[in-house]
């Protein structure tokens, strides 16, 4: 990294001016045990480059406790959204040298306990806090043994970093700025400029301030929801060496052959991104049957066809294909990263869809991973089991969209979905999800009664009076889970529908038709002759105003926009549907 880059950012940061672009404002307070006057300006430039307008409060040098423990401090008067605690290894070193020999062992714990108390106060005030790991020191009084003992500064900082990580992980609203990594990436021998610590308390050579600032800006940006979600990949000379259309499956380089090792490493890396929730898509200029061959037949391919949510191989321009992919997945263009070895394709995509991030890939596939890593595109603020499932869900969605296009008539399509339904009376196990669906459904909700779990339990138990149903659905692409709830009550010869909700995701699949068949069946078996349904309007449920009409219900009254519908069982014509029943597992 050149000092010039730092100078440029310094200039941008000090001449920021008014928020003319109307960027969202970021109020950030910077507290540090080192000199930050120049870092503040660089931070401004980095945050601004992410599309935010920074307003930064810089605390006095080395006054973190004074600011944090005083509710009237300038820090709290400033009312920050984000607080950046920027801690230096040199600051820790001073502490290390200052404590008595017998207390050295406890220093990491004491230091992080102090830090934790700051974090607690700051997060209580609803600030998002960013705190860093410490760069490893050059001092190793015990040589290689230093890592093993808390009596060495090196071992002590190793311990501090471990404790900081643990503390940040368990505290909501805290984020880790991994300066230990940044310094190691640069090389600590270059990172530190000790004369500048001596002279002006600089934690590192100022040319590395941009690295700190960009790392912080990445965290803020991700926290604000600006994250990439999807990686769109070219195939030839991107995922493997060579051109599949010319070289054939035996000829392309992947795994052992030629530079195949490098492409293999790249594929493994992409697979890890997919595992953490990234959507992978293919966008290749190829015949589809050629493009698919290596995935099917090459033994060294790490990525398989099913790792991709969308697979586009045709001769259209890639800009249009990427727009199509965004549409199928229903994600924003600005959340997509396009990776292609060809400068021509990259430029065309930049021209056609400027929102898409198009990294200027290096020529050597061995450099792909380190290069992509250097861009800071893959920031995460959290990781949950749901993230792991996400890629699969997008794939299911894309496949359904694709299949729908292929079929001329909807019946054929519905048949091909191989839907399996499970209709069942309420049971204990499913009560929570039943109640949840009743609370959450807004659009497909006939009466919006919002029955509670307790109400549902009553329905379940009273078999004489109530006939409450839940419905689960799956198809060949995936499992939707519990998607509809119908609560009914017997009243003399009539079955009254107290509530009917369904998840809109499964609209027009024949689930409603199937359910109505079931209700009529029940009436016949229990000597009931009529079904009564009511529509109570809300702001959101207009779509089901005429819902009962399609099944042959007659409108019997309309009062205050409330519609009452009646069905005479003998007028009912059984609905055609393409769903098979399946017993509850």
């Amino acid at each position: 990294m050149k000092t010039n880059t730092y100078l440029k950012m310094l200039k941008i940061g000090s001449r920021l001016g008014e928020n003319n672009n109307n960027y969202p404002e970021i109020r950030l307070a910077l507290l540090a045990d080192n000199a930050t006057q120049q870092l503040v300006k660089v931070l401004k430039a980095a945050i601004f480059a992410k599309g935010f307008y920074p307003v930064i409060y810089e605390g006095e040098f080395n006054s973190i406790p004074l600011e944090v423990f005083n509710p009237e401090s300038n820090l709290f008067n400033f009312d920050p959204d984000y607080v950046l605690l920027n801690l230096s290894s040199q600051g820790y070193r001073e502490r290390f040298y200052a404590v008595k020999q017998e207390e050295k062992e406890h220093l990491p714990e004491n230091y992080v306990n102090e830090l934790t108390s700051y974090l607690e106060i700051l997060t209580e005030k609803q600030c998002e806090v960013i705190v860093n790991t410490l760069a490893m020191p050059l001092e190793r009084f015990f040589g290689n043994y230093s890592a093993n003992t808390l009596y060495s500064l090196y071992g002590s900082i190793l311990e501090v970093n471990k404790l900081i990580r643990q503390c940040v992980k368990k505290m909501a609203g805290c984020h880790l700025n991994d300066i230990k990594f940044i310094a190691a990436h640069i090389g600590i021998n270059h990172w530190y400029d000790e004369k500048l610590w001596t002279h002006s308390k600089y934690m590192c050579a100022p040319k590395y301030f941009p690295r700190i600032a960009e790392s912080v800006a990445n965290i803020i940006s991700a926290k604000k929801g600006k994250i990439t979600k999807c990686i769109v990949l070219d195939l030839d000379n991107t995922l493997w060496g060579g051109v599949i259309g010319d070289d054939g499956v035996q000829g392309v380089e992947i795994g052992k052959l030629g530079v195949g090792e490098a492409y293999g490493q790249f594929q493994k890396y992409l697979l890890e991104l997919k595992n953490r929730g990234y959507i992978l898509a293919v966008c290749s200029k190829n015949e589809h049957e050629n493009a698919i061959l290596p995935f099917k037949e090459h033994p060294n391919m790490k990525l398989k066809e099913e790792d991709f949510a969308v697979f586009v191989a045709n001769w259209n321009n890639k800009g249009s294909n990427i727009k199509h992919i965004a549409k199928v997945l229903n994600i924003g263009l600005d959340s997509m990263v396009f990776i292609d070895d060809s400068p021509f394709e990259r430029n065309q995509v930049r021209e056609m869809v400027p929102e898409v991030i198009v990294p200027e890939m290096p020529e050597d596939p061995s450099e792909f991973v380190p290069f992509l890593e250097s861009l800071g595109l893959f920031e995460a603020v959290a990781f949950s089991p749901d993230d792991r499932k996400r890629a699969g869900m997008y794939r299911e969605q894309a496949q359904r969209a694709k299949e729908e296009l292929r079929f001329e008539n909807i019946d054929d399509y519905l048949k091909s979905l191989d839907m399996k339904i499970c209709v069942s009376r309420f049971d204990e196990f499913n009560l929570p999800r039943i109640a949840q669906l009743l609370q959450r459904s807004n659009q497909f909700n006939l009466r919006t009664k919002r029955y509670s779990e307790q109400n549902c339990k009553e329905f379940m138990k009273n078999k004489e009076r109530y006939f409450p149903l839940y419905i689960k659905l799956k198809d060949k692409f995936g499992d939707y889970g519990l998607i509809s709830v119908i609560c009914t009550e017997q009243n003399h010869d009539t079955l009254e529908i107290l509530e009917y909700v369904m998840s809109c995701r499964v609209l027009n699949r024949g689930v409603e038709q199937f359910a109505m068949n079931q209700l009529v069946e029940y009436c016949k078996n229990n000597g009931l002759t009529k079904i009564k349904g009511e529509y109570i309007p809300t702001k959101k449920n207009k779509m089901v105003r005429e819902f009962y009409k399609q099944f042959g219900f007659e409108l019997v009254s309309e009062k205050d926009e409330i519609l009452t519908w009646m069905l005479d069982i003998k007028d009912f014509k059984r609905n055609k549907c393409f769903i098979k029943t399946e017993e509850e597992r």
Partner: protein, 81 residues
């Protein structure tokens, strides 16, 4: 590297770091004579000179500079020894 070459190189750096394209290096020049030359930009200037001229300063040298003439002599000695 001749004194003239050094002057030409640091002229560029001074103009860039102190944000003033009209800066002309003079032997007697001090921080007083350049508007944006303060303790912060001083360090930026030192870092730029280290990188551009391939030299390293020691702590004493960055704190005790009397004038630009002295600075050029210092650089001359560092580069040519």
């Amino acid at each position: 590297m001749s004194r003239e070459e050094i002057v030409s190189k640091i002229t560029e750096i001074f103009r860039d770091v102190f944000n003033d394209d009209s800066i002309v290096i003079e032997e007697a020049m001090t921080a007083e004579d350049v508007e944006e030359w303060d303790s912060l930009s001083h360090i930026d200037m030192i870092c730029m000179v280290e990188e551009e001229l391939g030299v390293k300063f020691i702590t004493k040298e960055i704190s005790n500079l009397n004038n630009v003439g002295e600075f050029i002599t210092l650089l001359e000695n560092k580069i040519n020894t």
